[in-house]
């Protein structure tokens, strides 16, 4: 008998966590952004319950600041795997007066998502949300559990987490509390790409090299072609046509591009292997302070 490969191990572990989530909770949902991690997670969920359909819906927290390619992909993918889709709208939270839009040209709806997410969880009475977070992404995530407890306000208490041993996961909770569950905790960015290659998973075109109008702001290459990011007058002459791709796909206002000619999965795997910056190095949301991620997570962020 030969030993199993690391991708087999990671796949099996994630399937185990997905099944535990379905079994231990009354009403879970899978957070789906159209980014590669949530695509891989949903792909694994299809495997976990095959030949049944997914026993939970996909939940998209829509900032209204989406790349059109990501939305096209989302609708295609949901149909492809035969899942149900629930959408929580940040625009609606703004219209209802629950949150206020950030001001200034660096305004982002990234932080507002937390309110919409928590409201959507409450409205639908979801008691567990599956997220595509990985421990290698960010230092606060390195200490996150697979089953991460949230109090009735959706808050994370990093100093008071339940120990997780062997493959026993404790999802017991009081009424009104919920869990975030991270089946991809042990995956690295490279594992995700190698798995996408192995499984031949279709991805949004944003991940592959293409021409795009770009504005460079604080060292970040931001989209200037969709009009989602308002440009300052003095920035307009600085917009350049560049050959880029996105390493992560999130809210368009804080997702930076990298210059790249990688047009196939093999190219991307080679590029990731040679990268000298973490993928979150392109994320403006993490650059707001040293513990930006921890602070957002404590409030109930993804």
């Amino acid at each position: 008998m030969s030993a199993i490969t690391h991708l087999q191990f990671l796949e099996s572990e994630a399937i185990y966590i997905l099944r535990e989530t379905a079994a231990q909770f009354q009403k879970p949902a899978l957070l789906f952004s159209g980014g590669k991690d949530s695509i891989v997670m949903a792909w694994l969920a299809r495997k976990a319950f095959y030949p049944s359909k997914l026993p939970f819906p996909l939940l998209h927290v829509d900032t209204g600041h989406n790349f059109p390619e990501a939305m096209t992909y989302r609708d295609w993918f949901v149909n492809e795997i035969g899942a149900k889709l629930t959408v929580g709208s940040v625009q609606k939270s703004i219209d209802d007066g629950k949150v206020q839009e950030e001001k200034g040209h660096n305004a982002s709806r990234n932080k507002l998502q937390t309110v919409t997410l928590l409201d959507t969880i409450e409205e639908n009475q979801y008691d567990a949300c599956l997220g595509g977070g990985r421990r290698d992404e960010e230092k606060a995530r390195a200490k996150e559990r697979f089953f991460s407890h949230r109090d009735e306000f959706g808050q994370w208490d990093p100093k008071n987490q339940r120990p997780e041993l062997w493959n026993i996961f404790n999802g017991r909770k009081h009424f009104g509390e919920h869990f975030r569950v991270f089946p991809l905790s042990n995956w690295t960015e490279m594992d995700i790409w190698q798995y996408i290659r192995q499984e031949n998973i279709p991805l949004p075109s944003l991940y592959f090299s293409h021409q795009r109008k770009i504005i460079e702001r604080h060292g970040q290459l931001l989209d200037a072609s969709t009009g989602i990011i308002p440009l300052l007058d003095e920035e307009i002459p600085k917009v350049k046509e560049m050959t880029i791709r996105f390493r992560t796909v999130g809210d368009a206002t804080c997702t930076g591009a990298v210059e790249s000619t990688a047009s196939t999965i093999d190219d991307i795997v080679a590029e990731v292997a040679a990268a000298r910056q973490t993928e979150r190095g392109t994320r403006a949301d993490d650059k707001r302070s040293e513990t930006a991620m921890e602070d957002r997570k404590k409030e109930g962020y993804f």
Partner: protein
């Protein structure tokens, strides 16, 4: 940087690190990550900036793993941190556990999923009480491999006599353990990199592998791979659909037991016993998303269909008919107590979670506690506080299906959950069932 590994060949090694506060553990991990090019520029830059701001003399690599605000402020590690790196030969997951007071709880947690433990010793201090505690815990958790990393060899002039004395003292100590892992001693200097990745010219008397070479090549065989066939049922897949699946045919009567193999191998045609009913049946199909499989192997996830309509669901267990499993209401177990605000006493009641099962449980007796520095068993105080380890007898509201932890780390382990707070308050390793504790039909009320 994530190194390109061959996904079809590379295996995974999970290890944990243990050492006292100043043994150079963070330096060693930083060294492994740095030398394997697993640290990114922006991470290193951020750590350099923080170190400068804090006034540290050197770049403090501990800041790479200590990510929480409280940790950075207080310069301590609160919790188990998981780190990832790869070489062209293997992928590694490190469970980095802090060395301070809560180390027992954290080391037990990190060790529960580890194939190997690196135990660090300061060459100037030799084998100290902490070394023995860490080794005891590695042995208790049945980690098959230990690396005794004799660190700071540069501070004892790479003296072979010092190293030899430490190694023989350590080996003498391990003879007193019930379970002795395979031990590989290596003289290193984490600060300068001697024998960490490359062989050091300063230890010509050492002919063994460097630490990384050892990690890349050590053969780990979890007992579960070669042991008895075990399949805890997680979930029952019933499409309740008249659709026809291209791989599995008509789905109307499909009823698959979903789970992850916890030991051994199953094949279609195998005679099995299905718990809790203990009914016999036969495996018809083993399925994944790819379709029919020829076998179900340890650690991987499947859906299994049986020849007979047998009632089993989450918490049930499928085993090979000729490889029976223990079934009992009452058993003895070693536990480590995790709660700091509550103690464990005889008659304490809990939820007990074992494989995919969840039953109520009562501690009927505290048999002894272990002083993990001297390995002495004592019955003087029978209450467990934070980090205490000892042996208890437990009775459950329904029988559970288990092996001794020494046979199988998955079917032999459990956790206790507090009924009020829902917190995980203890980790348990089953020793043996209590024979004839109950008649088969006994109703147990707790």
């Amino acid at each position: 940087m994530d190194v390109l590994v061959n996904p079809t060949e590379s295996s995974l090694l999970r290890f944990t690190t243990a050492g006292s506060v100043d043994d150079g553990k963070s330096t060693l991990i930083g060294r492994l990550l740095y030398d394997s090019k697993s640290i990114f520029e922006d991470q290193l830059l951020a750590v350099e900036e923080s170190s400068k701001r804090r006034g540290d003399a050197h770049v403090n690599l501990a800041l790479l793993t200590d990510g929480l605000r409280a940790e950075r402020e207080q310069g301590i590690t609160i919790d188990v941190a998981y780190r990832y790196f790869a070489t062209p030969k293997r992928k590694f997951i490190i469970a980095d556990t802090p060395g301070h007071i809560q180390y027992t709880r954290n080391m037990v947690t990190g060790a529960s999923t580890a194939d190997l433990a690196i135990i660090l010793i300061d060459a100037r201090l030799g084998v100290i009480e902490q070394t023995m505690r860490h080794t005891y815990l590695a042995s208790l958790l049945r980690i098959g491999h230990v690396v005794l990393a004799v660190n700071k060899m540069d501070l004892v002039d790479f003296d072979q006599a010092v190293y030899d004395r430490i190694v023989s003292e350590y080996m003498a100590f391990t003879k007193g353990l019930e379970y002795v892992p395979q031990i590989r001693p290596i003289p290193i200097s984490a600060l300068n990199g001697d024998n960490v990745v490359d062989h050091s010219s300063k230890t010509p008397w050492y002919v063994g592998p460097s630490l990384l070479e050892h990690l890349e090549t050590v053969q780990v065989k979890p007992e579960s791979v070669t042991g008895s066939a075990r399949f805890p049922v997680q979930w029952v897949i019933r499409p309740i659909s008249d659709q026809t699946d291209s791989k599995l045919g008509n789905l109307h009567d499909y009823r698959g037991f979903a789970g992850r193999v916890a030991g051994g191998t199953f094949r279609p045609g195998d005679e099995v016993v299905v718990h809790p009913s203990a009914m016999k049946s036969r495996i018809v199909g083993i399925h994944t998303f790819s379709g029919e499989e020829k076998e179900a192997i340890s650690q991987l996830s499947y859906s299994i269909t049986l020849a007979d309509e047998i009632d089993s669901s989450r918490g049930g267990m499928i085993v090979k008919a000729d490889e029976p499993i223990q079934s009992s209401h009452e058993f003895d177990a070693m536990i480590c107590w995790f709660a700091d605000k509550k103690t464990l006493k005889p008659r304490g009641k809990f939820h007990l979670r074992h494989t995919t099962n969840d039953v109520r449980a009562v501690v009927t007796e505290v048999l002894y506690k272990v002083n993990i520095s001297t390995l002495e068993k004592s019955q003087d105080v029978l209450e467990f506080g934070l980090n205490d380890i000892g042996c208890i007898r437990i009775r459950t509201s329904a029988p559970i299906f288990f092996d001794a932890y020494s046979e199988n780390r998955i079917t032999g382990s459990f956790v206790l959950v507090d009924e009020q707070t829902n917190n995980t308050v203890a980790a348990g390793m089953i020793l043996k069932p209590i024979a004839d504790a109950f008649e088969e039909d006994a109703e147990v009320t707790i």
